[in-house]
């Protein structure tokens, strides 16, 4: 059990690293540090850097949180931490006592 928890945690950390990496690139690199360089690219009436800073970054935030939800659901399922698994486990423990 202890070992499985370790594994669960390590995979969780891996998911966080990737998603927070994207979050960092979008927020600080694309929208602040390299914003002027990105402004050279135009999409319709928007300069890309400006659009990232005032619109794009926020859309990416929403996507990141929902992707995280999906990935964690999958991870929970793999390690039997689904809500119904946890409840079943509790029940089994109570019966065993």
């Amino acid at each position: 059990m202890q070992k499985d928890d370790n594994k669960y945690w390590q995979e969780n950390i891996r998911i966080l690293t990737v998603l927070l990496g994207i979050w960092f690139v979008v927020s600080f690199l694309m929208s602040v540090i390299f914003v002027d360089q990105l402004d050279a690219i135009r999409i319709g009436g928007f300069k890309l850097g400006f659009w990232m800073a005032q619109q794009g970054s926020i859309y990416v935030y929403v996507i990141i949180v929902f992707v995280y939800l999906k990935l964690m659901d999958k991870l929970d399922h793999k390690h039997h931490h689904d809500e119904k698994d946890i409840l079943a486990q509790e029940e089994a423990e109570e019966l065993g006592q």
């Binding site: 966080l16 927070l20 602040v32 009436g45 970054s57 859309y59 929403v62 949180v65 409840l87």
Partner: protein
């Protein structure tokens, strides 16, 4: 129907809804009072979190601020949304699994120290009071402008409403009124935005109209190009380019992001859901609902700025539309004909400029500028009130729990019964409402300055302590406390110096490393992390049961 009657009816109906919800959702235990019994469904919590978060400042002032700052205004757009990614991924699920009532609960238990708990209590109360003063003022301002009631009476009415549902229902009452308040405020925000987008660009979605071409009656061409052109003509910096240094923008954005993720009134919303998964899910809903307003705000900013310049610049004062005169009466618009030519000169050069426009106008007068019907104006009033009241209620609850639960039950008076604790919680809310109302009626001149303080403090104290408490089993009492104190002292000193002791020196040339007081919280946070990790290495490991507790909250436990 006359606008004022219509506004009274709209606001009256929303208030009746809030009161009805309060009566329906009375709290009968401390668990219900503090965290709504941990039975709030994720969708409802997402809506409530969004209303909790979006304050009078988000609703009334933000589009205006962005409209005057151009691209630099992105610090608020990203700063006040980006923190939800950190909350969702690094904080909310684990604190939900921890399963207590408050943020000081976590700090005190995780660092096995009453001292750490008290540091957290003081920070939570300070940050929340700073914030709530502005909300009560916002309620008064909306009342006085739309309903022509005295500003103080407006504050008193707002206090009465919040007091009623907060005392009766605690977190449970607050949560469900916030759900209703989100619906009111987002509808009130979107309707004028959609109309103005159609009017200027023919595009029904403001986020797309933002990057679209203007209708012929507005001169054609892409909106943002046109706006840059107008700015150049009048001597302002280009709208889509920044004025501040990239480093400062980076630090301000980061401070607002980490501050958001460390604000107690936001964090406790995730204690109200039944499980870890529900906490993750409600964080998703929250950022989605917040993003709707936050991606619309910059579009409104650009529309309104273009419209404003087009309408006023070099136009005859006598031919100004009705809204210009209305808002001139409230002195939010001021015109002084310096060269006596009867025309309005609106330019960057302060010597020549004849027009001063308060930034709140951008949202408040938007419906009138776009010639929308009266019911839309009435709706904006109800939306502004919903935004201010929902945030105020969430903050007041944090103050009340910090006193009755963290200070009394968990520290000074551990023997009180649950019933007594609940009474103390209600008395504490009464006290908090009165203090907030006092600040609303007699606003301290420094409200605007201390907002930087609230975020800087949350970023430099709570955020590192919570994150280290979850992601490091080795982090101990000594490390966390010295880190928090180092972060707070550094950040507070810097802000107090530039905002209160020597405000004249508050310019980019005097800032340390070119970082403004608004952005210094980021450095404070880094100092907190560095000190905490350094001290932790030199002192004893935390007890085994604490390490076990950390391992335990990393894995989803039993749902409520």
């Amino acid at each position: 129907m006359n606008l004022q009657v219509l506004t009274y009816i709209t606001v009256g109906i929303t208030f009746l809804i809030y009161i009805a919800i309060a009566i329906w959702s009375r709290a009968s235990s401390t668990k219900e009072f503090y965290i709504a019994g941990a039975h709030v469904p994720p969708l409802a919590n997402g809506l409530a979190t969004a209303a909790d978060w979006m304050s009078a400042a988000s609703f009334i002032s933000m589009a205006g601020i962005v409209s005057y700052m151009g691209r630099d205004g992105s610090v608020y757009l990203m700063g006040w949304t980006g923190g939800y990614v950190l909350l969702a991924l690094m904080i909310a699920p684990y604190l939900r699994d921890f399963g207590k009532f408050t943020v000081p609960d976590f700090i005190g238990d995780r660092y096995y120290s009453q001292f750490a708990r008290m540091v957290a209590v003081v920070c939570a109360i300070f940050v929340s009071f700073t914030y709530v003063a502005g909300q009560m003022r916002g309620v008064g301002v909306v009342f006085s402008r739309f309903l022509e009631v005295d500003i103080n009476l407006g504050v008193l009415i707002g206090m009465g409403i919040v007091f009623f549902y907060a005392v009766l229902g605690g977190m449970k009452g607050i949560t469900y009124t916030q759900v209703a308040q989100y619906c009111v405020l987002i509808f009130a925000y979107m309707v004028p935005a959609v109309f103005i987008s159609i009017l200027m660009t023919g595009n029904i979605i403001p986020q797309l109209g933002f990057g679209a071409e203007l209708n012929d009656s507005f001169g054609g061409g892409y909106l943002l190009d046109r706006l840059d052109g107008l700015h150049e003509e009048l001597g302002f910096a280009a709208y889509t380019e920044g004025v501040r240094s990239n480093l400062d923008i980076l630090f301000i954005t980061a401070a607002l992001i980490m501050g958001t993720a460390g604000l107690p009134h936001v964090i406790i919303r995730f204690f109200t859901v039944p499980s870890v998964r529900a906490a993750r899910k409600s964080a998703g809903y929250a950022i989605l609902f917040i993003a709707i307003l936050y991606t619309t705000a910059p579009a409104i900013a650009a529309f309104a700025r273009t419209n404003l310049i087009n309408t006023v610049n070099n136009a005859e004062y006598v031919s100004m539309p009705g809204w210009f005169k209305t808002w001139e009466n409230t002195s939010l618009i001021r015109f002084e004909d310096k060269n006596g030519d009867g025309l309005i000169q609106y330019v960057a050069d302060a010597e020549v400029n004849e027009l001063t426009v308060d930034r709140d106008i951008i949202v408040l007068a938007n419906p009138e500028i776009a010639k929308l019907p009266n019911w839309v104006i009435a709706l904006v009033a109800a939306g502004g009130l919903a935004a201010a009241l929902s945030t105020a209620a969430g903050l007041l609850l944090v103050i009340s729990t910090a006193i009755s639960h963290d200070l009394l039950k968990r520290n000074l008076m551990p023997d009180i019964s649950e019933k007594q604790e609940l009474s103390f919680a209600r008395i504490a809310i009464l006290f908090a409402v009165c203090v907030a109302g006092y600040f609303g009626i007699n606003p301290p001149g420094f409200v605007a300055q201390v907002v930087a303080f609230a975020f800087g403090l949350a970023a430099s104290s709570f955020f590192p302590a919570i994150v280290l408490g979850i992601f490091s089993t080795r982090m101990n009492r000594e490390g966390a406390i010295s880190g928090m104190i180092a972060g707070i002292v550094f950040t507070a000193t810097y802000i107090i110096y530039f905002k209160f002791i020597n405000p004249a020196a508050d310019t980019a040339t005097n800032w340390w490393l070119g970082i403004s007081p608004e952005g210094i919280g980021t450095l404070g946070m880094l100092i907190n992390f560095a000190v905490a990790i350094g001290v932790c290495r030199l002192t004893a490991e935390p007890p085994q049961e604490i390490k076990d507790m950390v391992l335990d909250i990393r894995v989803p436990g039993k749902p409520d």
